[in-house]
Symmetry: C2
Subunit: 208 residues, 2 copies
C-alpha cells in the first residue's frame, strides 16, 4: 500500500488480560487512532449498531470481497463469515492513523504477513494463570463453563508469546499502560517498505 502514513499496532492476549482497560487508559495520549472493527455476515442482534460491534454485510458482499482480496483475514464459523476488511484499515492508514487490532495469534500472523513493514505486535498477559482466573471470576460476566474455556485458551495462546515484538505483563495497570503508550508512539515511526525504497532510489538525485 502506497502513500500511507499510518501504522499498525496489534494487541493480543487472553480475555481478562486487560487490553480494553489499557487502551482506555492511554487513548487520550496515543494520538489519532482507529480501532479495527471486524466484518460479519451474522445477523445484527438487538442493541448492536453497524460499525460499532461489527460491520454487518450480506454474504454476497462478503464473498465478493474475498474474491477481490479485500480481507486481511477471514473465517467461516457456524455458517457465518467473520473477517477483517482491508477497506476501513486502508482508509485509516491513508489518514495517518495508528490502526489498533484486538486479535488472536492467527490474526496477528495474517496481519504481519500482509502489513509486516508497518506492524508492531504486542502480547498482553496477566502475570499468572491464577490472577487471570481471579479477574475473570471478579468480572462475573461469564458462566463457569465459559471461564474454563477462556483459561484453557489462555494457556494455549501464551505458548506463542515469542511470535510477538513485545510482551507486556499487565500486573500493575499504570506500569503496563506506560509501556504500551511508549510502544504505540514508536509504532508510528514504522515506514512502509515502498516508501523506504522510494527514498533509497531517489536519495542520490533529490534536491535540497
Amino acid at each position: 500500500m502506497s502513500f500511507i502514513n499510518g501504522a499498525v499496532l496489534v494487541l493480543s492476549g487472553p480475555s481478562g488480560a486487560g487490553k480494553s482497560s489499557l487502551i482506555k487508559k492511554i487513548e487520550d495520549e496515543i494520538g489519532a487512532y482507529y480501532f479495527s472493527i471486524s466484518t460479519t455476515t451474522r445477523p445484527m442482534r438487538k442493541g448492536e449498531t453497524h460499525g460499532v460491534e461489527y460491520y454487518f454485510v450480506d454474504k454476497e458482499e462478503f464473498k465478493k470481497d474475498i474474491e477481490d482480496d479485500m480481507f486481511l483475514e477471514y473465517a467461516l464459523v457456524h455458517g457465518n463469515y467473520y473477517g477483517t476488511s482491508l477497506k476501513p484499515v486502508k482508509k485509516a492508514l491513508e489518514e495517518g492513523k495508528l490502526v489498533l487490532f484486538d486479535i488472536d495469534v492467527q490474526g496477528n500472523n495474517a496481519i504481519t504477513n500482509r502489513l509486516g513493514d508497518i506492524t508492531t505486535s504486542v502480547f498482553i498477559s496477566p502475570p499468572t494463570l491464577s490472577e487471570l482466573k481471579k479477574r475473570l471470576y471478579a468480572r462475573a460476566t461469564d458462566s463457569d463453563e465459559i471461564i474454563n474455556t477462556r483459561l484453557q485458551m489462555a494457556e494455549l495462546e501464551i505458548q506463542r508469546v515469542s511470535e510477538y515484538d513485545f510482551l507486556i505483563i499487565n500486573d500493575t495497570l499504570d506500569v503496563a499502560a506506560k509501556q504500551l503508550l511508549k510502544i504505540a508512539h514508536t509504532a508510528r515511526l514504522k515506514k512502509p517498505l515502498d516508501q523506504i525504497n522510494d527514498f533509497v532510489y531517489t536519495w542520490k538525485d533529490l534536491e535540497d
Copy 2:
C-alpha cells in the same frame, strides 16, 4: 544470555548523518546507557586512552577471545584485529543498561544474529546525498579524497536501509532526536527470549 535486563540499540548510517549529534542531544533523557567501544590490537596512539577510543589488547588476548567466542564480530585489517567484545556489552546488559552501537551494516547483521531478541536497529540517513556532501565539506575535517570515499560508501550503505527496524531521516535535528528518543525508550522493553520462555513455562504455576 540470562538474567539480563538491558537491551541493544544499533545505530548505523553514513559518516555525516549526525549520529553523534543525535546521541548528544538525547543523552540526558535516554536513561542508563553504555556506548559500545571496540577492541583492537593496533598500538595506542598519542592522546588515546584505553577504554575511550578503543580497548587496547595484545594479539594473544584477542586470539584467545576469538577462540572463546567472546566477540560479537571482528575483522583483521592491515594486520591488526578490530572487534566488538562481548565482555563489556554483557556487563552493561546485566546492569540493565541500553547498549548503543555505532556500527555498519555488517556489524548490525552480526549483532542481530547474536542478540536479535533484545536488539532494535535504526538507520540514520541525511535527507539527500547533496546535503551529506554539504555537511562533510562544512565539517572540514577530511580531505577531498576521504570525503569522496565517504560519499561512495554512503551510497552503498543506504541500499540496505530495509534491513533495519527504523529509518530516521535526519533533516531537522530536533525532529530526528525526538524520534530516536522514542525508539530508545521502547527498545528497552525488549525482553530476552529465555526470559520470555521462563515466563511462559512458569506462568501456570506462579503464585500471586
